[in-house]
Symmetry: C2
Subunit: 108 residues, 2 copies
DNA sequence: AAATTATATCGTAATATTGCAATATAGATT
DNA sequence: AATCTATATTGCAATATTACGATATAATTT
């Protein structure tokens, strides 16, 4: 099929999965890492950095933006993108719960 | 195309992306959450929990196992799965770096 | 206003993912 | 050893993702 049965899962599960899926591509990890180092970017910066076409980079930026990982502000001619901390706090919170749970219990 | 150009990215970027992609599906988030609560599971437990077929659940478990999110130990007839903390520490480390970076710099 | 610069969108091809029925495998029980 | 129980694998259809050339849009500069 290829269609995820989102309706069977909780909002929380769907939202978290969407954010993690958006981060689940090396180009998008690379974009986030670029933003960690350079604080901000325009689309052209990433086009120069990664061996992907402008159209593809624009698409990856849109995906990151759609789930709130980055935000874009119009700045004259171009659009300035930067990281949105809230989403990462959500992810870290989830990971923290997992780690806490796991360290308490030995595996079978 | 549909093919990710992994060869253009670093091992670290590919590995992290693979783990996050594996977590990027609500059914697999649900499986992890089940493991947080119940410490361990066999395939049949998840089949009873989620409205997906046994074949589909088995496939999701395999994906989680492939990237090291869970580990499975043969226990007689069935296979006992549980969470592997190392992978989550890796993710949390990455998220921590992002959050530290972002809180230091205002967005454009 | 024409040209330039920067980004987004459209259309399309190739590949990947999701999901399930059917079947295979393997240990446990009778 | 035949049956049962638990899980994995195979094959397939439907849908999603990835990537890019071509083109559209919109602000900037000449």
């Amino acid at each position: 099929m290829g269609i995820t049965k989102s309706e069977h899962f909780t909002d929380h599960q769907n939202e978290l999965a969407n954010v993690l899926k958006a981060l689940g591509h090396p180009a998008r990890v690379a974009i986030v890492e670029y933003l960690i180092q350079h604080k901000q970017c325009i689309c052209g910066d990433i086009v120069n950095e990664l061996p992907l076409s402008q159209a593809t980079i624009s698409q990856h930026l849109r995906e990151l933006k759609q789930v709130g990982i980055i935000q874009g502000n119009i700045e004259g001619n171009s659009i300035c993108y930067c990281l949105n901390p809230q989403v990462f706090e959500q992810i870290t919170k989830f990971m923290g719960i997992v780690i806490e749970s796991v360290t308490k219990n030995k595996c079978c």
